[in-house]
């Protein structure tokens, strides 16, 4: 079995290396990477079958000892259980779809680059290399059995994300966006690293199983970080780790990088910034459930952060005009939902939503990408409209994606989102009331902005220019097939996975939920139909319908002049939303400006004066002078050399024989 796991991880890596480092042709590049990812997808499905359907015993073992230091072994190992099996299938499947889609999307990428730019020559191969490398990184992250490897995968996906956001690095905005993403993620990673360090300090080990089995023993330890402040060790560790998750999974206030990351090519927005990388934080918290269950404080913190993200990021989707940004804000909001679920101890619901979201959100992104291709890389929705008749496949698949997103009954999102709302309703910890309000209100907002986008793009007046309209047609098969392939799970996966994931203990012994917290006891399970009927009588369903209806009247037929009036009346609100609540300005002024000022100060005073002139140049000059002096000892005369040896002898004899 270990060989299978190794193959799953290494196949994309080998693909990435071949496509990236060897000068292969475009065809070879995409063939080899698609083969690699397809192979790991197939094997992942096989592992999924073994772990989930046949109920094989989880695998936890090292494949290679990377380094041994004293008694501590740093190993590369795999922990394969139902949770990682689900993640592996989701990651590799979405990745495979994106790989195939990319063949079409990047087909004439070289035209985007400035004329005669060297980077354009192999940008196609480079792109495939990056996304394969990303798949490798994500797989190491989810299959890891220890914190070190988790951290490696964590950083590696961050790195690839940086590379991909700035893929078109001739655009200044892309460079700005990737720098921003990297820096914001560093903030989160710093917390994450501190958390891992704390675990290493107190548990003396980085292996999951050992840490979890000792967690209970350390649950009541308190530590002093500030003088006279006793903090629970578990809360500190959990919150530190969650800060890492906030960066990666884009939670308020570390969410600012995600909308900007839309500067990257659309396939990676689908793969990285919707389906996989951003879910790393959710996955990590679920994986660490034995730790989080011990800290009520940390869970409340998570709950509130998630609720803030879910509600307020949804509002921002209402005022965006860039098609990809709307989807990006909806991603933020949905990530908020997952985080809320984590905070409510419904880790399984979070993973459930993660999975359904991965399918329908990548579907939406790829659909948006398809529109963008058709529109010749135009992303402004105000210049679209009426695309329904030109792009039928994209239209229908996008409709499916949108319905799944808003939680239309029987679509996958319906089950997962309702499960989260139920769980929050059931939760009793601090902040649960606010969180419940946020997620329920969020349903309306979600429906509103999703269908606002849908109607603006596919219905209504055709607002594009004549030239574009003449060339409108459905993109190639490599683009449309992944859409269809993703549309299927977007519809059905919710109904299939509902029972096993939430009620029937698929994650038994994998995700640990204290009995008192469990929002989905087996006894409450009424089957898919029962869940459906229950859902149809609840607030969220009506709110979603209301949202669709509002969107239809405002942006399709009826009162299409009203949005402009609202905008005029409530201009302060609109400004607030367009400015994204001022997070960017705040960061730009306070953090970026502050660090720049501090940097300039340190540079001028500390670096230039003290270090450069004083220490570096001073010591370098001193060393250089000494070097020039000593080199003259090497005269080239043989008898000087022999004399030096004799002096050495004299000294050794004198010191060690006679003096000692």
């Amino acid at each position: 079995m270990e060989n299978i796991y190794l193959t799953i991880v290494l196949a994309p890596l080998i693909g990435a290396i071949i496509a990236g480092l060897f000068s292969v042709s475009r065809q070879t590049a995409h063939r080899i990477t698609v083969t690699g990812v397809a192979l790991s997808c197939l094997l992942s499905v096989y592992v999924f079958k073994l772990m989930v359907l046949d109920g094989a015993k989880p695998f936890d073992g090292a494949v290679y000892t990377w380094l041994a230091s004293g008694n501590i072994q740093f190993e590369i190992g795999f922990l394969i259980d139902s949770l990682s099996a689900v993640m592996m299938v989701v990651v590799t499947f979405v990745s495979l779809m994106v790989h195939i889609y990319t063949i079409g999307y990047m087909a004439d990428d070289e035209h985007i680059w400035p004329h005669d730019s060297l980077s354009a020559k192999n940008s196609y191969q480079r792109f495939f290399s990056y996304i394969s490398l990303f798949t490798f990184s994500m797989l190491t992250l989810v299959m890891s059995n220890n914190f070190l490897q988790l951290f490696f995968g964590w950083e590696a996906v961050g790195l690839v994300s940086y590379l991909l956001i700035g893929f078109w690095f001739h655009r200044e905005t892309a460079v700005y966006a990737n720098l921003k993403a990297f820096l914001v993620n560093r903030v989160g990673d710093f917390g994450f690293l501190l958390g891992i360090a704390a675990i290493f300090l107190y548990f003396g080990n980085l292996h999951y199983a050992d840490v979890f089995s000792n967690a209970d023993a350390l649950a009541h330890i308190t530590i002093q970080i500030l003088p006279n402040q006793e903090w629970s060790l578990m809360s500190v560790i959990c919150i530190l780790l969650f800060i890492g998750a906030m960066g990666k999974s884009a939670q308020v206030p570390l969410h600012v990088w995600l909308p900007d990351s839309m500067e990257g090519p659309t396939p990676i927005s689908a793969l990285i910034h919707a389906a996989t990388m951003v879910t790393a934080g959710i996955f990590m918290v679920s994986r660490m459930s034995p730790l989080y269950e011990l800290s009520e404080t940390a869970l409340s913190f998570i709950l509130v952060i998630g609720a803030l993200t879910a509600l307020f990021m949804g509002f921002l989707g209402l005022v965006q005009n860039d098609i990809k940004r709307v989807v990006a804000y909806s991603t933020l909001s949905q990530l908020g939902y997952m985080t809320v679920a984590l905070g409510a101890s419904a880790y399984n619901a979070a993973i459930f939503h993660l999975m359904t979201h991965a399918f329908f959100k990548s579907l939406l992104f790829l659909g948006a990408g398809s529109v963008i291709i058709a529109m010749h890389h135009e992303q402004d929705m105000r210049k679209m409209g009426g695309l329904r008749k030109y792009l039928p496949i994209t239209y229908w698949t996008s409709l499916i994606g949108s319905l799944a997103l808003i939680g239309f009954p029987m679509f996958s999102g319906f089950f997962s989102k309702d499960a989260i709302i139920e769980a929050v309703h059931h939760a009793e910890r601090a902040g649960a009331g606010f969180a419940y309000f946020a997620v329920v209100a969020g349903v309306f907002i979600t429906a509103l902005y999703s269908f606002r986008m849908f109607f603006l793009v596919f219905h209504g007046k055709e607002r594009m220019d004549k030239h574009t309209r003449e060339h409108l047609h459905e993109p190639a098969n490599v683009v449309t097939w992944p859409l269809i392939a993703l549309a299927v799970p977007s519809v059905v996966i919710g109904a299939i996975a509902l029972g096993p994931m939430l009620y029937q203990g698929l994650f038994h012994n994998v995700i640990f939920i204290a009995e008192a917290h469990n929002p989905f006891p087996m006894a409450h399970y009424q089957g898919v139909w029962g869940f459906l009927i229950h859902g149809l009588t609840q607030w969220p369903f009506f709110l979603a319908m209301a949202g669709v209806a509002t969107a239809a009247t405002l942006y399709w037929r009826g009162f299409t002049h009203i949005p402009a009036q609202i905008q005029a009346r409530l201009s302060w609100l609109h400004t607030l939303l367009v400015n994204k609540y001022g997070f960017d300005d705040f960061n730009e002024k306070v953090f970026a400006g502050g660090s720049r000022a501090l940097g300039i100060f340190l540079w001028q005073v500390g670096d230039v004066k003290l270090i450069d002139n004083g220490m570096v140049n001073g010591s370098a000059n001193t060393v250089g002078r000494i070097a020039q002096k000593i080199r003259h000892v090497q005269t080239g005369y043989l008898y000087h050399y022999a004399f030096a040896m004799i002096i050495g002898l004299l000294f050794l004899l004198g010191w060690f024989v006679h003096a000692a």
Binding site: I646, L649, L650, V657
Partner: protein, 200 residues
């Protein structure tokens, strides 16, 4: 009697050794070295190491030093240049030499190696197996591996000497037809591209 012979040869040995490095004429130095070897051999004989003594005389005095003398005579080294700087380095050299000598004497002197610490070896019985036989016995049995290695070192020395000295090349200028045949135009003529220079 034995003591008298020992001190005689020891004095000659030290005198000869000092002369080796102080005389100006290299031929004289080599001859003094011969004398030193010879005195050494005599002292070894006193220690009943007759094989080593004979080997020293035969190999070093008989072969090596004679060769040395030939070389020195043939090269005709300028006496003055060799001794140049001798006085300049004399003081520091003398000081360091003296210090080393003191340090060594303090350890290997009579305090640790005198007759009290290390009793004199008892003379061999008349019917004992002689030194040469003993050496011969172990040389080809117990020490066969080092012995073979020593042989290889000699082989390497030979190979090295031949490789470094033998010059199959002919020094006179002559025509090589085989080289003339394969010569190409590029070998003879190099086209150099230069940017035009303006006079300033």
């Amino acid at each position: 009697m034995v003591q008298f012979i020992f001190y005689l040869f020891a004095t000659v040995l030290i005198f000869a050794a000092v002369r080796v490095i102080t005389v100006k004429n290299p031929v004289h130095a080599a001859l003094h070295l011969v004398l030193a070897f010879f005195s050494m051999a005599a002292i070894w004989l006193l220690l009943e190491a007759e094989f080593l003594a004979i080997a020293l005389v035969l190999v070093y005095v008989g072969a090596v030093m004679v060769l040395f003398l030939f070389v020195v005579m043939m090269l005709d080294i300028n006496v003055a240049t060799v001794s140049e700087g001798f006085t300049r380095y004399l003081s520091s050299g003398f000081l360091v030499g003296l210090l080393i000598l003191l340090e060594m004497v303090a350890v290997v002197g009579s305090h640790h190696f005198g007759l009290k610490a290390m009793p004199a070896p008892t003379p061999m019985a008349a019917d004992a197996v002689v030194n040469t036989v003993l050496l011969g016995n172990v040389l080809y049995t117990e020490y066969v591996y080092p012995f073979e290695l020593a042989a290889i070192i000699l082989l390497v020395a030979m190979v090295a000497a031949i490789a470094l000295v033998m010059r199959p090349k002919r020094w006179s200028k002559y025509v090589k037809p085989e080289d003339q045949v394969v010569v190409k135009a590029q070998d003879r003529l190099t086209m150099v591209k230069m940017t035009a220079e303006k006079e300033s």
